[in-house]
Symmetry: C2
Subunit: 242 residues, 2 copies
């Protein structure tokens, strides 16, 4: 795998409820998997509170470093939904009521329901492009390489699917898992030797602990299927008697 | 709540398996809750791959900013376990085989089992203090305000419990949740008015979407129980007929 094939992305999860442990995040694993399927590596995640300084710092650092940045959360109608304003500040552009978003929401709500609070959901940084929300209409938006999605997993996933075709991936990452009942410490040396022999295959060792017993799952990842298979075959031999 | 009462911490989750979506993280929510119970706010999380540059950058930035930094993952015996070395580099100190950790592991393993790979688990940055691991012995460690724990949730939680008494918390955060079947957009204005009246109570609005219906959970957090109760009572009135 050459560096030219490597496309990396980052995710900023915005929300006090994830940090306090009240809500178990489900967007990280979804995005990691979904990006992997189109040849993009989720290379960093930051979870930050609903505070302007934290959101702005994370977005500005990551958007310069990664091909794509995604944010989840904070695009609803309440006072703690500050993502649109934070992204506008990060890019140094004004916040406005996006005309297309206003039209979508006006058509969606019954007469009288489209109040000032709901109009907040039409706010985007000036210059942003909308991201379709097939579930509940209120759109996400994209500013350059930064996509802002809702936090509710069903809505977030639908938004990702509406823009997936826009993303340019690298070579697709293939993977294989070899489960073993061996302790990591018993195979570490031989595993390292295999890793050295296959520098183009990423070999991860993931111990587990269940019912009082340890075991290890070996996960191999590579873009070349033949090299992956060759390394997998060598890892499988680790389970055989020495 | 004064700033003097506010103690903030950060977490660095180290592991490609979380980023790829292969493994669903369970340490973030645990730590967020456990810290909240002793008056410490988990204020930022970073998930980084098993790469020196990423781990070092995250640890060095966060340890200067937050009272405590925790890391999870990467302290096992295999080639992809690079946390101890990364923390040593972050602090600019050598990595060594910690004598006390060597003694603990030597006593734990049967003769012949304590091989070179397992001795990797005794490596810490020079000057680190061990963190007890009551589950599987191989210890975590602390360098100044940075605690490094195992990634396996059962082990991570046991390690946290062994050092919890060392952590100096602020005033304990109390919380109350008011579930409503109302849409966020219908209560946003009145909720904002309550937030303005109670600046010392953090009011979060969390929409949910289940079985085709939206609703909103309002979560209130404060250190003063009387103020929390007063704000909660006002939020409860939102569900009453206008």
């Amino acid at each position: 795998m050459t560096d030219r094939d490597k496309v990396e992305a980052a995710l900023v999860v915005i929300g006090n409820e994830i940090l306090s442990g009240r809500t178990q995040d489900r967007n990280i694993a979804f995005l990691g998997k979904a990006l992997g399927e189109i040849g993009i590596m989720l290379a960093q995640v930051r979870i930050v509170p609903d505070r302007f300084e934290d959101i702005i710092a994370a977005v500005n650092e990551l958007r310069r470093r990664y091909a794509y940045v995604f944010t989840t959360g904070g695009i609803g109608p309440t006072h703690d939904d500050i993502t649109a304003e934070a992204i506008a500040r990060a890019f140094g552009v004004p916040l406005h009521h996006h005309p297309e978003a206003m039209a979508i929401l006006e058509a969606y709500y019954r007469k009288g329901e489209f109040n000032e609070a709901r109009q907040r959901m039409a706010r985007t940084p000036l210059g942003a492009v909308l991201v379709e929300n097939p579930v509940s209409k209120a759109p996400g938006f994209r500013m350059e390489n930064v996509y802002s999605f809702a936090g509710i997993p069903a809505v977030m996933q639908a938004m990702f699917k509406s823009i997936r075709h826009e993303l340019g991936g690298g070579a697709r990452m293939l993977s294989a898992t070899v489960p073993t009942a061996l302790a990591e410490g018993d195979i570490a040396d031989r595993l390292e030797a295999i890793q050295k022999k296959y520098p183009d295959v990423e070999i991860g060792s993931y111990p587990y602990y269940q019912k009082g017993r340890y075991g290890t799952n070996i996960v191999l990842r590579a873009t070349n299927s033949e090299r992956l298979k060759a390394a997998e075959d060598e890892v499988k031999k680790l389970s055989s008697p020495l």
